[in-house]
Amino acid sequence: MASNAEEKAESARTRSAWLLSTPALIVLLFAASGPLLIVVTYSFLTPGQYGNVVWNFDLSGWVGILFSKDIFDGTWHLADAHLSIFWRSVKLSLLTTAITFAVGFPTAWFIATRPPTQRALWLFLITIPFWTNLLIRTIAINEVIRNEGLLNTVLIWIGVISTPLHIIYTDTAVLIGMAYVYLPLMVLPLYAAIDRFDMRLLEAGYDLYASRIQVLRRVILPIVKPGIIAGSILVFVPSLGAYVTPRVLGGGKNMMIGNFIELQFGQARNWPLGAALSMTLLIVVMAALLVYVKASTREGNPHG
């Protein structure tokens, strides 16, 4: 009888958990998860002439990711323009990850080796940009690298250059912008990993006559690897789906996937292609996040 009562109490608890979560689930289903299913559906339909779709099953949205149809003879061939956009997105995202790691690791190390009383302040200085508006930070970096911006003004004033550097509206501008806005996403997980690092291991390394480079390569990096993976994915994922930064700093020409998707719902009027592209992006991001989850579960196990 006791087990029966326990079971009843258990199912009442489960019911109350679900009841209390229901309002949140309804909002999310309506305005976050549910609409994703509509995107899947739309990717298999025929584009309408003035945008939207015609309700006909059609694979052209998915095929259109890699191929485009010749308007005159109707043959399909590889879409070079699309490939160059994908390549730019992947290349810039990887470079952003590499740059943020190169400068983010020393920063995280610096913060983690401060005396405990100072650490909170340094961390707060990294967290503030992390929570400030991405658009504002993009506008701020735009003011620095524009043709008449701070960087060129200063460089011309000290006489390093005589004509302004044309950085704005190039891939380099997008790269600088993304590295700038996503840097905190690299520093925070790296800091979390380094903070748990046992500094006595360094003494052990040096006692065994390891050089600084050897200690870094053979002791520090392998141990903080889960933090490196976490930071890299946290930077890579938003970079790949970036929309605001390439739009503001890349001008109209230097599109990334995010802008290319928007184009399909705007001037290009090809909603199924836009839907198929969104799903592709989602799948790539989900794969990256799976790696992240695996890495962070391993992090919990010191012997793993």
């Binding site: 608890r13 958990a17 939207n52 658009l135 839907a275 989602l282």
Partner: protein
């Protein structure tokens, strides 16, 4: 400097890079704020201190409308998100694992995982058909969209607060014959209030800052401050954008500082 690990932990060049990172991180933002007080048109040439651009932004009807909409949306969306997130946090914390727990977690955290552009496209498609079917084009779409992606931001601090709470106080209340509701109102709710306020503020900031989803969901004439600024970036930048940015920045910093003070763990 008695700490022996201090010297060992030094790696050459790291301090220099870290200092450079902090300078590079803050210099553009500081420049933006400083030039919002510039008297001249230029964003590079300093022509003296003035509040011209704040004044002209304030006089601009488009900016006024966008400010008003941003605040309405952020207040409503964070209100909805915080309410439903508080309930969900009460439902999902401080109990043994239950059937469907993972599903609820995944659903709540989903807006953090799906790229914003994908959600934006999904909402564009979904709301476009509702707009056509009902003929209604109001702000409700933006409010619901914002409420949805604000839920995880409201939920996480509330859950953290609940998990750190002392269960014995509620047991004590129950021992003193307080009803469930009375215990909740007089013990649980006051204890979890800092978490709720922190969650609400985070949700408010997140809603206020959103660009991508708003840009795709808004109907004509529904610009918020960030989408208005994004539109302005197509033309030459005027210090008016700097002035708006600075005000938003100040608001964010104030709310974040309050957030950190509220969620700070006592030693």
């Amino acid at each position: 400097m008695a700490n022996p690990s201090f010297e060992v932990a030094r790696l050459p060049g790291f301090r220099f890079i870290a200092m450079a990172v902090f300078v590079v991180l803050y210099l553009p933002i500081i420049t933006l704020v400083v030039y919002s007080f510039n008297a001249g048109q230029s964003v590079a040439l300093w022509e003296g201190f003035s509040l011209t651009w704040y004044h002209s932004a304030w006089q601009n009807e488009a900016v006024k409308g966008a400010t008003f909409r941003s605040l309405i949306i952020a207040a409503s969306a964070s209100g909805i998100a915080t309410t439903v997130a508080t309930m969900a946090a009460l439902g999902t914390t401080r109990r043994k694992a239950f059937k469907g727990q993972t599903f609820i977690y995944v659903m709540i955290n989903q807006p953090l995982m799906v790229p914003e552009i994908v959600t934006a496209v999904a909402l564009l498609i979904f709301f476009a058909s509702i707009k056509v079917a009902t003929g209604y084009n109001g702000l409700i779409y933006l409010i619901i969209a914002h409420a949805a992606f604000c839920i995880p931001f409201a939920y996480l601090p509330i859950r953290a607060r609940l998990e750190g709470m002392d269960l014995t106080l509620e047991t004590a209340a129950a021992d003193l014959y307080a009803s469930h509701w009375l215990t909740f109102r007089r013990v649980t709710l006051p204890l979890m209030l800092p978490g709720i306020i922190a969650g609400a503020m985070l949700a408010f900031v997140i809603s206020l800052d959103d660009v991508v989803i708003t840009e795709f969901v808004k109907s004509g004439g529904q610009d918020t401050l960030p989408t208005y600024m994004l539109g302005q970036m197509r033309r030459a930048v005027t210090p008016e954008v700097n002035a708006i940015s600075s005000v938003l920045l100040a608001l964010t910093v104030v709310m974040l500082t309050a957030f950190f003070l509220l969620t700070r763990k006592k030693d």
